[in-house]
Symmetry: D2
């Protein structure tokens, strides 16, 4: 069972824009990176393998909401730590909070992603929200509220 995961990355040149800082849209790509790394750390994958799980049971995790509050810019070659916390687990969605920390301990951004658990409906071929399977629920739990409400640098 886990509710927290961290990942340290380095800003790449292609992530910056002409303002000399990481483009705001790339924070969302970074958030997805730590989310997927969290799943791998739990021996889950957001892309389930039909060779291991019956195809009719494979689920995906499209986003229904994403947001980010920006507090300080990130620069080329700078390293930063993402701290993912599970903010809420509902029957068909998971909400993550992701904090971006500079190595100095400064909080530079705080984002959220709400991912819905979906499965392809064989009748319509469309994705449909479904209850989160027990294989996932068994590993993901909501973080304690004190971790969610007070941002403390992981360093």
């Amino acid at each position: 069972m886990s509710f927290r995961h961290t990942l340290t990355e380095r800003v790449q040149f292609a992530d910056t824009d002409m303002a000399g800082i990481v483009h705001f849209s790339n924070f969302f790509r970074y958030m997805e990176r730590v989310e997927h790394d969290f799943f791998r750390s739990l021996e889950l994958s957001i892309r389930e393998d039909p060779a291991k799980i019956p195809e009719a049971e494979c689920v995906g995790w499209p986003r229904v909401h994403a947001s980010c509050d920006y507090k300080a810019p990130l620069f080329f070659e700078e390293q930063f730590t993402m701290e993912l916390l599970v903010e809420e687990v509902r029957s068909k969605t998971v909400r993550y909070m992701i904090r971006f920390w500079k190595l100095t301990g400064e909080l530079c951004a705080e984002g959220r992603i709400i991912a819905a658990c979906v499965r392809r409906d064989p009748a319509t071929g469309k994705m449909k929200a479904v209850e989160i399977p027990s294989r996932c629920l068994a590993k993901i739990q909501t973080a304690p509220s004190e971790l969610l409400t007070s941002a403390v640098s992981p360093k």
Copy 2:
């Protein structure tokens, strides 16, 4: 004076991901595209030209917040219309709402960007929030609340 701007685009192959739909982070790039097009339509630029405006007065518009609620996916080669509305003009920030419409009239996403007006502080070299210059205020106004509260397809 303007409070609304629309732009129709087509989904490019590189905007999609292996789920076969536009990657959620690209909605933020699309939002920026209509925002900057809005500025150009007003003969403004989010990148002011020091050849035209004294460099000490040039302002930029970094984001302090961005969010998106996703309702329906966009697919490769699909055309969609972005409808930007000025949701709030404050002394140092502007908040935009951007609705994404399929050509069928279906609302597929609704996003928000809050951009802060900043200028480089000559003493520290850092960006600092400043009051929005009158050359911008003269052209941007808050949209009527009925436009903001009820989503009506621009078609």
Copy 3:
């Protein structure tokens, strides 16, 4: 039958990097944009629709080669024209040359893409190079050599 297609675009903020110019990788995204627009202009799609063409006959066009020579940078908000020329049509591949022109008539880059015509092999599930279908060959032809060897601004 066609061997040439042009498309004028504007540099977006997210296309730039901290050097203040379009990131070199984005020229490849731009090239794909004009290539796909060329297909649409011929009422073809690089993503064939199984509702219109039997799925076993649908082909795709992955790249086996891509290159670009950079001569002058492109800047934020600058408009540029891409000129696509069909450089060679072989039995299973098409080679495109794409020239990037500033509106002043300056040549800023010259790129190439070789796309292979592929179809999913039902036995292995893998993509396999196949002969270009006649529905495509009927519309695409090699450009005259004088167009390929001497770059003349489309203006």
Copy 4:
């Protein structure tokens, strides 16, 4: 003195496209990633710091050429190793060859980047090719030809 550098990365979801594989343009972003990591491994930076090196002597490395030959696709979550080799050092340019290896030892792509050494001309404000400074030349050398001509998996 170094002529070779390797870096192992994992394919991210946002790197894929609707064909289910890494988009061809992202190989160029990956190449830049290993190139910059090579510089850092030599205690160099492609973005020199005016606090350490007189600003008039700071150099940059824009690309004059980039190319890639694609042999096998990369998939989501797959790990791959990039092997950078210095193919040629000239007075004002460096040419890199970058091989992409699957962990199975399969060669999936081979790319090249030619980077020019430039400095801002104080008179015109434009970038101008200059001789590679000795601080860089002292650390970068051409790889032995047998490494360049025969691709051997680094595993």
